[in-house]
Symmetry: C2
Subunit: 452 residues, 2 copies
């Protein structure tokens, strides 16, 4: 069986919902659908989730929220009208919103999670009712009924391992099932939203729970590009990529499929395919455990993310001092900073982190390191871009590193850092911000256009 | 003024001592000499330090040590006879050895330090007396008199910062001074030897103390080779190298001058020259704070050390987990392991250390990491060679990395790791053991023979 998930733009209006149901109904293996809240219908539109945030702001101000309330309901009214459905569902939706506002108006974090859940929840109810009315027996299943049990901290749901056994029972239904994405229910029976990745994570959890043969993730692109199409003209779409490669690419800026959603899948080797709702016949990108590697696809993709900061620390005879690096990392931990890389020389170490990790406490961190660690030199550089060249086969092919450094040298790009080897499937380069787009272009050309 | 230090082979016999004194006396700026214990006179010879160790073993056994005792005295008798000196010094030496054995026979660590100090100490007394008898007023200064005050832990002397002010007073002597290397005196008035680098460290401490203009370190080679002459045929000698470069080269196997001896010098920018006692007119290698860089000398040297072990750790979403790396390093610290590098991927980290750091406790370390850190994969690789390409100018010249990876790729050498950037003056490559000599050769050819 297959679990299919549709993103916000795929379920933004009646026309899109009909496309989505054609896809869902056309394959009897597609037995469970995860839906998002209605997204933008056109570039200037406001997506439902943002309408709900506006409603929430008014409620907690507190201020008159009637107008914001109605704009949320109108989005669903618009869909229901175009689908020519009965309007009784709208009365349910109105009642639910009112109920959440009354119940949680003194508990803002709970209120926010409850209101946000409506975006997906109403859409799931609506689409299930519509599909049934079209003659396909379809059942709406709430996260409570499905058994998507999560931890209780607002906006930070983590699935409980015990949930999976309950989710497996979804296999027993005769009807097709539609489940809203983005939230679960805590053991204290609170609605709690997932921190990132919106509905992707629900799809992944359900796919693992029912032990699906495939998790189909429908979006508005026909797969994952080998490089950012804003940087490289018309890049190729990746046909097949491993979980590990996907994670490395996501890290440095690829955002089509949230890498955290891979976590429930990779241990059980449930493959994912990223497809386009508007071109469902396109093969899309498959995310799998192992892939075949030919010389042309050694490198699966190239990504670059620009928002990194690096701390440089020098201390003579650093490598002889047991515990020095641990002490520095202990200070970062005290400030709740997670770092990404720590390349080192004999007497020096650089610690690379996302700029948002340290921005709010930079001076305190520098002062604490100076006071506690007796360093010879300490400096900070905010303008680092991290370029990742990702490919499972790279390390077995002598000279791949050389092909890439050649392309960069010919383009006169200075490498501030190179880190290769810890991960078997990527090479990391530290670059000046201003070189980053050019670097992606020349490596893309070297690897895919000139042939490696 | 200049401080000069002579290594063991330079003061191994009467003929060498005459050479050394010709050098010392030929330049009136050479006012302080640091001497080593007599080294090997020919390849099959035993150096004095090893004769003393044999004596020590017999004393602590305890067993009859008369024969070992006499062999030590004979080394000095041989020199005294050849120099046609009076033998009264030998009686002093005999008395001193007996006294140390009596005083410390129940305190083995103190006994070892006291006996070892005799190797250098007797030679300094002898050479000072001889030079005076030749008409050059020369004074033996003991480390006690000089003020080489050190910490009290046996075999692990560290100079006390307060010693330098006392050492500065050595400038006041009219005579030439000869000081034995290798040991200092603790504030508890114990003889304590330096842990590494034998007499180099004494020379560096004295040179800093007297604020010398130059520290001349005489050995049996005419300087530092750009690569190991056992690997590369007749490599060039480096004319000038910075402290930082020297340290990086020493780290990975260059052993002409012990890198720890640079520590007292580098902050005060006292230059060092490595020269050959047997060819004192050769210019040698100067170790300085800054050097001029031309395109031919961007890379100052290439070294490779073979005895590294690497721990590979994989954990999904590692980079999101604040404190994960610190936890691993805390475990290493518990086992008193100092690591050298820690290259990382998104979900993986490799920790590189010298094999002798972990050999004795490998299983315990692996078990502790498994038990405490919830890792996905953990493996260990013992066959890692670390190749360092060192040069102050490398990072300012685009394409240096590329020249090197090109040479390695053409030689079909697989790079297990690349780490560039934390140190501004080196690139590190992780290689298979079996590739290490070939790698040094091809990079040497690329950089110095073909011209970079």
């Amino acid at each position: 069986m297959k679990v299919v998930k549709f993103g916000g733009s795929s379920v933004a209006n009646a026309q899109q919902i009909n496309k989505v149901l054609d896809i869902f109904n056309s394959d009897k293996e597609r037995r469970i659908m995860i839906v998002s809240a209605p997204g933008k219908r056109h570039p200037e539109d406001t997506k439902t989730t943002d309408l709900i945030l506006q409603l929430y702001e008014k409620v907690i101000e507190p201020s008159d929220y009637q107008q914001q309330f109605e704009r949320v309901i109108e989005r669903y009214a618009d869909i229901i009208n175009h689908l020519k459905m009965k309007t009784s569902l709208l009365e349910d939706f109105t009642r639910t919103l009112h109920q959440y506002i009354q119940e949680f108006k003194q508990h803002h974090p709970r209120l926010l999670d409850a209101l946000l859940s409506c975006g997906e929840d109403f859409n799931a109810q609506l689409i299930a009712a519509y599909n049934t009315s079209c003659g396909v027996p379809t059942r709406y299943i709430s996260p409570m009924e499905a058994g998507i049990r999560v931890t209780d901290q607002p906006h930070n749901a983590q699935i409980l391992e015990t949930a999976y056994a309950q989710l497996f029972k979804l296999r027993d239904y005769e009807e097709k099932l539609i489940i809203p994405g983005f939230f679960g229910i805590s053991e204290q029976n609170h609605i709690v939203t997932f921190p990132r990745g919106v509905s992707d994570i629900t799809g992944a959890i359900v796919a693992r729970g029912v032990e699906a043969d495939l998790y189909e993730n429908f979006t508005d692109v026909s797969g994952i590009y080998r490089a950012n199409p804003a940087v490289v003209h018309a890049p190729e779409i990746i046909d097949e990529i491993t979980y590990g490669e996907m994670r490395e690419l996501s890290y440095a800026g690829f955002s089509v499929f949230h890498d955290e959603a891979l976590q429930p899948l990779y241990k059980h080797r449930i493959p994912v395919v990223i497809k386009n709702t508007n071109c469902p016949e396109d093969p899309g990108t498959r995310i799998v455990h192992d892939r075949d590697i030919d010389t042309r696809t050694v490198v699966s993709g190239i990504s670059c993310d620009k928002h990194f900061t690096v701390l440089h620390i020098k201390k003579y005879l650093m490598n002889r001092q047991v515990g020095f690096a641990r002490k520095i990392l202990g200070i970062l931990e005290d400030y709740d900073i997670s770092f990404d890389h720590m390349p080192s020389g004999i007497d020096s170490v650089s610690i690379i982190m996302r700029s948002d990790q340290i921005k709010h406490c930079e001076n305190e961190v520098l002062t604490t390191i100076r006071n506690q660690c007796d360093v010879d030199e300490l400096s900070i550089d905010h303008d680092l871009a991290i370029l990742m060249v990702v490919g499972e086969g790279m390390h077995r092919i002598v000279g791949t590193a050389n092909q890439i450094t050649t392309a960069l040298a010919q383009a006169n790009i200075n490498l501030k850092m190179i880190n290769q080897g810890a991960s078997e499937l990527s090479m990391m380069f530290g670059l000046d911000l201003e070189d980053s787009d050019k670097a992606v272009q020349v490596i893309y050309d070297q690897v895919y256009v000139h042939e490696i």
